[in-house]
Assembly symmetry: C2
Homo-oligomer: 513 residues x 2
């Protein structure tokens, strides 16, 4: 955890059990089950048609001249007075024809390449909270040391596949250059792919440049083998802001994947009905998807969904609700209709890592998995509706994700797995503890949890009677203790250092640089 680890990291062993904590090896997760079809074809068509009416009759308001030019050139109706772009279905169809149905992200460790599309399932670290919390040190504003710790945890826990946008904002650092510090932490403390902050062109380009340096390839080479990604939010309803547009364009121009995610809380940013929210989400997402293909045909692009409801008593956002679970499933049907990879989330709205945090996260996770999600964003560490990154929540989430990974693992089904001979070998009323069939399999037969405690009540109390939250604290402390910094070529580290130093100066001289 300290500075001195940076230089002398021992070699990270891929798939090791992670120090003292039992965990699953790094793996590409596949969902072998067909996604749930919550709506029939007729209703899906109704959603689609209404979305197309929203795009062609109401349009999307944009702030960027560049975006208006691109759409005008493609045949859209651009009203420069109201900054509104209206597009026909044919323009969307043409864009969808060009967008790939899957793509990969390759980090500086090629063994940790992740695929988006098909039945692949990728878990991303929480992104964006201004605050951080753990049970030892309490709630505090985001800062670089905590940022670095979260990156260490994301590297240590194999269930986390990619780093999202700024797990906590290091607010003690200058706003215009802190992305350099977070990218640097991502690239030196982990070997995972990450999400660039695509607010404006410069931040996106810094992410692209630094990943290329870390991989020892050119930005041009990275075009064919993307290394970073970003999520472009739509300011629902129907508003696409300038900085986001610039970020999207920079990413797309360089062939780096973009996810377009409308921020659609039912009753606030969309109508109160789920069907309407999905129509609006779909229109907004397809607008962004279309833009990526107008910028650079063939750009990898993911269909993003973030539809949940608000508490109608207070207007506060709610997550992990039944409505959110349904939205997660139907949004997957929409993404597949357009042959696009699908991103969603498994958020919760609890203020503390408690029962609510657990059951809301489970509800949303199951919705995402049943919906055939390819990326579950914010999958580890999200608390307080996204306002806090939590150490204990990260541990809880890794356990939830590992349980899901095991649920998705196909059943062994060889003749011997059917166990007739084993059953024959044990008398009626006997037990199988010592049977050869058991002994030869027992170490790997079942998922071995990290957080669950299965002691009987007496033994559990004897051992201190710690509940799962207390154990979660011990687990992140243990993980930080066991963490091994991934090796990096000193020449590459020097190049990264030099890049950051140069860019820091440029930004200090000209904050818009």
């Amino acid at each position: 955890m300290s500075q001195d680890r940076r230089g002398g990291g021992r070699r990270s062993k891929l798939g090791r059990s992670g120090g003292g904590i039992a965990q699953l090896p790094w793996q590409s997760v596949k969902n072998p089950y067909p996604p749930m079809q919550m709506l029939d074809e007729e209703r899906m068509e109704q959603l689609h048609k209404t979305s197309m009416r929203i795009l062609s009759e109401l349009g999307i308001r944009v702030m960027s001249e560049r975006v208006m030019d691109l759409f005008a050139k493609a045949g859209a109706i651009v009203d420069r007075e109201s900054n509104t772009i209206r597009i026909d279905e044919s323009i969307v169809t043409e864009a969808l024809r060009k967008a790939p149905s899957s793509f990969t992200l390759t980090s500086r460790n090629p063994d940790k390449q992740v695929e988006f599309g098909g039945n692949s399932l990728v878990f991303g670290l929480v992104a964006g909270p201004p605050n951080v919390h753990d049970r030892v040190n309490g709630r505090r504003p985001g800062n670089l040391p905590d940022y670095q710790n979260f990156i260490r945890l994301a590297h240590h826990f194999n269930a986390i596949h990619i780093i999202g946008n700024q797990v906590v904002a290091p607010i003690e650092l200058p706003a215009n250059s802190r992305h350099l510090d977070t990218y640097y932490a991502n690239l030196t403390l982990s070997d995972l792919s990450f999400h660039c902050t695509a607010i404006g062109r410069a931040r996106a380009m810094d992410g692209i440049n630094m990943m290329a340096i870390a991989r020892g390839i050119s930005v041009e080479e990275m075009r064919a083998s993307p290394g970073v990604t970003t999520i472009i939010s739509i300011n629902s309803p129907r508003l696409f802001d300038d900085a986001m547009a610039e970020g999207l364009i920079a990413m797309a121009e360089h062939g780096q994947p973009v996810t377009v995610t409308p921020f659609t809380l039912m009753g606030a940013m969309t109508p109160v009905t789920l069907a309407a929210a999905l129509c609006q989400q779909n229109a907004e997402a397809l607008f962004g998807v279309t833009l990526t293909q107008l910028v650079n045909p063939g750009t990898p692009v993911m269909y993003g969904a973030f539809t949940s409801n608000v508490d109608m008593k207070s207007g506060a956002p709610a997550f992990g609700t039944p409505e959110n679970a349904k939205a997660n499933i139907i949004a997957g049907q929409l993404a597949r209709r357009y042959n696009l990879p699908y991103r969603t989330s498994n958020a919760n709205a609890s203020n503390v890592v408690d029962l609510q945090a657990a059951y809301e996260t489970e509800m949303a996770t199951w919705g995402a998995v049943l919906g055939g999600a390819n990326l579950i964003y914010h999958a580890a560490g999200w608390l307080e509706g996204g306002l806090t990154a939590s150490y204990e929540k990260l541990v809880l989430d890794v356990e939830i994700l590992q349980n899901m990974m095991e649920f998705l693992r196909p059943l062994p089904f060889q003749e011997d797995d059917l166990g007739f001979e084993a059953i024959k070998s044990v008398p009626a009323g006997g037990h199988f503890f010592g049977a050869e069939h058991t002994m030869s399999r027992y170490t790997t037969a079942f998922y071995q949890p990290m957080l669950s405690n299965w002691q009987n009540h007496g033994a559990w109390q004897e051992a201190g009677g710690k509940d799962a939250l207390e154990r979660a604290t011990e687990l992140w402390q243990q993980a930080l203790h066991d963490y091994e910094e991934p090796v990096i070529d000193p020449a590459i580290r020097e190049e990264l250092d030099a890049y950051v130093a140069r860019r820091r100066e440029e930004i200090a001289a000209n904050p818009e640089a």
Copy 2:
């Protein structure tokens, strides 16, 4: 909660919101989605064939002469020396032809009739723990006042459809007659159907007789309209005990539904592989199902599953594991193959109402729902692997069940629900809080949770910063305060009193009576 409530219960309003606690109305829950098919037809056939080999080549050991006679008469090979019954597939097939594919249970309140079969989903109260726990009074042995409180809570919370077998054992009462006290509590403090203790014939008959009295009908009339049920466990592997057999026979003779549930923890009572555990579970369940039809063709019978794993380090039972979730799904495929209603559970193995209790329960609940369960037994209040009935866990579970009920509610999908006009009415970047479309729907658009708190962090802290566990304590206290005892005809109460008094005397004179 006190004795004096018994006399003067106010009229219970079906579907009321439950005093101060927001809850869903009493309802028959339907699962509108097709169950998950985790195994293909070929693999299902392998499970079936292996089960049939277990029944015909290895057989089931039974202690009851009566059971051996029944099977011998049906053509099974009965070895009276080893007490083993071996049966051919044809005998099973013939029994399955006679078993109904669904049935109903009618309590003394006909509005609370519950259906088992098709896509109905019934939630049962936890059954069987010797201990009880709440955060105020700690952990203690089961006793009648706590038993009564749990029945009040089961009556109060609309998500609980039926009462399982002895939610806690009132161990201060004589073992041979305490079932009279618990049945009496079930029938006077609630208006739900319940589960008879079918250990021996007498306890089953008392349940049947007392429900008939409470409904004001004869035992003969109840044959055509069952009012109580029971679960017959198999002592896996392949052992069927005498008392259970007597209970099953008494229930079947009187046309009351029976669920046959092998107690199959992988690695202990079955081989360590899930495929083998399912083969064994299936053989044992079908043996019991067949027995019900030999006793009384047409007896309603449910396929029960309780397959989970043990902790291979300690041998302790584990629940809500990925393996348990898979078992819940595949067991449903088996039950449907035989055209039988399907019972499973959503247990957890935590020692305390914590994150683990929540995520393990969620895992098992989703497995059960995706598996097309018709009955989720132990659905509210199960803790410590079934050794403790917990007040706070009951509240957590009711919230989890209500969330699931809302998830299963089909989406409104009228033209107006698609919301084009509503979207048109709000400018880009605006909000929908005050829109007419929102205002006319906002009170009912979303599920209103009982336990979740969606305040922002400041408001939540201002209000005391209570976590969900603390709120759960307040909620069961509030529920007991708000509880209204259901009205009962004084003549019926007198008859129940007289029945219990008479039987208590008979049992005191002859414990086997």
